[in-house]
């Protein structure tokens, strides 16, 4: 580990953060292998263990070095990068990873469709081969950052005559290409975090295909697994997150307290604390090299608690709970439960049990993969996609 400290010191002495431009520094950091140390040498990493990263981040933060605004480029970092690393060609890795990590190029994800949500493999966006290109037509939805993005990871159907999992191919799509239209998708909160993306005859060069034709579903599992890890991965202090917000509201309004709400709040406080402890336990397991399946428990619990807590807060606020701060169609780049009022939290939290895998799908996964329960009888696995009932 002391090697890391030396490398950080070397980077900092060659590129004093106080005098180096932000982008220049980030590029230098990437080139020094200190971007994501577990990546290979030459691709921003050193082939080091994943947990060496924390020390690097900390040392650079202490030295006042700029970071790459990870929340702004979360999809690139969390989903595109691991997939390109695992399944891309060397050329693709070299082309995409550096500007992805530095934030020069923002990424988004074109997976979900109006007709393919939980059943993502049913997606119908078509990609037809035309010379060295693919011509893509279809509609994608729930795309965050689409309006800021340079690139997208894209799943499209290249063969409708085989069963649904077999006919999907994984592409990188230029979001500035002709035929890509991005429309804001307004949510029940009033704001539009997400977009619909309409693809009409968009030309994607075959060089931007990731993996084999028809291998898209398998490759997408890399992407989605990393999404789930990312969601469960943040450490929180006691009363961090929604429970802290609601606890503070409770403290601020002695005149509104009732015994009934008191016990409900304490129940949720207890559950939030247990969820936090379970998160700590999960990270301790990861650090000990024996990751468990508890990440899905974290996501289920997070959704339940954010919903129950915000619901209680609105009820507690009574005449103030009847009000809303603003229905304007804003375009936030990240969700911040603390920046808005209780009504917003209540409405936005409803999405927590849908986005990134619904709670229903998570329960299926737990039942089958963790508990080993048998799958339901399925008829959709073996028939050609084009013949599926829909």
């Amino acid at each position: 580990m002391s090697g890391m400290r030396d490398r950080v010191a070397a980077l900092l002495s060659a590129h004093d953060p106080a005098t180096t431009g932000r982008l220049e520094f980030l590029r230098a950091r990437f080139d020094a292998g200190l971007a994501w140390v577990h990546f290979p040498v030459g691709l921003g990493g050193l082939g080091a263990p994943r947990d060496a990263q924390q020390e690097v981040d900390l040392a650079l933060a202490e030295a006042g070095a700029p970071d790459n605004s990870p929340r702004r480029i979360g999809i690139g970092l969390g989903m595109a990068a691991p997939t390109i690393l695992a399944h891309g060609t060397e050329e693709q890795r070299l082309r995409f990873l550096r500007p992805l990590w530095t934030g020069e190029e923002v990424w988004c994800q074109l997976f979900s469709e109006p007709g393919a949500g939980s059943d993502l493999a049913a997606l119908g966006t078509r990609a037809r081969r035309d010379g060295d290109d693919w011509v893509v037509t279809g509609q994608k939805v729930w795309t965050s950052s689409a309006h800021n993005a340079q690139w997208a990871i894209l799943l499209a159907r290249t063969d409708p005559d085989v069963p649904k999992h077999a006919g999907i191919t994984y592409f990188v799509c230029d979001m500035t290409a002709p035929g890509v239209e991005v429309r804001p998708l307004r949510q029940i909160t009033g704001e539009a975090e997400f977009n619909e993306v309409f693809l009409t005859g968009v030309r994607v060069p075959d060089a931007h295909r990731i993996g084999e034709v028809g291998a898209g579903w398998r490759i997408a599992q890399t992407t989605l697994m990393n999404e789930r890890v990312a969601i469960g991965g943040r450490p929180v202090p006691r009363e961090g997150g929604m429970v802290g917000v609601v606890a503070d509201t409770w403290r601020a309004h002695p005149e509104r307290r009732t015994p009934e709400l008191h016990d409900r709040l304490l129940s949720l406080w207890v559950e939030s604390e247990a969820l936090r402890l379970a998160g700590i336990r999960l990270r301790q397991q990861l650090a000990a090299g024996s990751p468990g399946p508890e990440g899905s428990a974290m996501k289920l619990g997070f959704a339940r608690l954010s919903q129950a807590l915000s619901a209680l807060e609105v009820e507690f606020l009574a005449e103030d709970g009847l009000r809303y701060d603003d229905w304007t169609q804003r375009r936030p780049t990240a969700v911040d439960f603390t920046a808005r009022d209780a009504g917003y939290r209540y409405l936005r939290a409803k999405g927590n049990s849908i986005e990134g895998g619904t709670s229903e799908v998570l329960r299926n996964i737990i039942a089958e993969r963790v508990l080993g329960l048998p799958t339901e009888p399925r008829s959709d696995k073996d028939i050609p996609w084009k013949d599926l009932p829909r």
Binding site: G117, S118, I188, T258, E315, L322, K350, I354, S359
Partner: protein, 350 residues
């Protein structure tokens, strides 16, 4: 005790549903969400008598009872139409009926009953139990559209022309029920003779009882929409409504709506007959509030992503259900009201 819908009530429901189907479908309500109360629709509801069913005929009403009014409330819940039913036709009307010995009250009541104007009771919509009242109140339902305000101050209800008051519309969580902050300081008022506190209490009780039927309407729309959606939505080569976990959830929802319907009918019947009113109303409010919220939350969840979008009307019902939970007493406050009434106190009285 009759907990069924009579034939007359069924016919009334059909005519209200027809009107609302034409004029206040969820899609059209959504499209006009920023326009506040739909006064044209309100006039048409008044024209078919749906806004004054429980007002005696000699005061310009239909001479029916809260039973019929509750049927209208159900349909209005089912459509989330933005009309001042709760604020004017229930709360203000109940106050005035209680104070109908006063000529000014009677005169206003008649105008309300005939749909010529609307009024609002100036207390926060969340009120339940003894209400201080006063010159200022926040989050007052249906106040922005009202021409006349009824303001309880120190045991007397005052009648105030809205144009003399400061009525500040505020952004409402429930986009289909506008609320406003009201300040009548310095406005000329007409005090109404009669027991003001009693009148306010009667109005809150009637409002809470009728609100239960609105909540049943909200819950039923949510159940119906959810069932329709999961029948039509295919994932994994099957309608998602064929998956057992979803089936069980909507079955449980249906079960809770069966209970809520009985409780709401009982509350309406009790308001009509004057028997068992306080228990019936608080039972109904405690239960129906929770059922409506759960129905709306399940509706959003089981619609998947589409339920989170502005373009689908599910959110209107979620917002209405959540605001209704707070309106006229939260479920917990109604249970606290019930405790002494059903001899289940927390502390023994010595």
């Amino acid at each position: 005790m009759n907990l069924l819908y009579t034939e007359v009530e069924d016919e009334l429901r059909a005519s209200v549903a027809d009107l609302l189907g034409d004029r206040a479908s969820p899609a059209s309500v959504l499209a006009q969400i920023d326009n506040g109360a739909d006064t044209a629709l309100w006039r048409d509801l008044a024209r078919i008598g749906a806004t004054s069913l429980h007002v005696p005929e000699h005061l310009g009403g239909q001479g029916a009872s809260y039973r019929e009014t509750a049927v209208v409330a159900e349909e209005l819940g089912r459509s989330v139409a933005p009309v001042p039913f709760l604020g004017s036709a229930i709360l203000a009307t109940a106050i005035l009926t209680h104070l109908a010995d006063d000529p000014a009250a009677r005169e206003l009541l008649t105008r309300l009953a005939q749909g010529e104007t609307t009024a609002a009771l100036v207390v926060p919509l969340s009120s339940w139990g003894p209400t201080a009242g006063g010159y200022k109140a926040r989050s007052v339902a249906d106040a922005a559209a009202a021409e006349v305000l009824l303001v309880p101050v120190e045991g007397t209800v005052h009648l105030v022309e809205a144009r003399h008051a400061v009525v500040t519309p505020v952004t409402s969580l429930d986009q289909t029920r506008p609320i406003a902050d009201v300040d009548i300081s310095g406005a000329p008022t007409t005090p109404l003779t009669g027991p003001g506190d009693e009148a306010v209490h009667a109005a809150l009780v009637a409002g809470a009882g009728i609100l239960a039927s609105e909540q049943v309407g909200v819950a039923r729309w949510c159940l119906d929409a959810t069932v329709a959606h999961i029948k039509a939505r295919y994932q994994f080569g099957r309608p998602v409504g064929s998956f057992q976990a979803l089936k069980h959830r909507v079955a449980d929802l249906w079960q809770s709506i069966v209970l809520a319907t009985a409780a709401a009918r009982h509350a309406a019947d009790a308001l009509a007959t004057g028997v068992d009113v306080d228990i019936a109303v608080s039972v109904a409010q405690s239960l129906c509030s929770a059922v409506a919220v759960r129905a709306a939350e399940e509706c959003v969840q089981l619609h998947g992503g589409i339920g989170m979008t502005w373009e689908h009307p599910a959110h209107l019902y979620l917002k209405r259900a959540k605001a209704d939970e707070i309106a006229l007493g939260t479920p917990g406050r109604h249970r606290a009201t019930l405790a002494p009434l059903v001899d289940l106190p927390l502390q023994s009285t010595p």
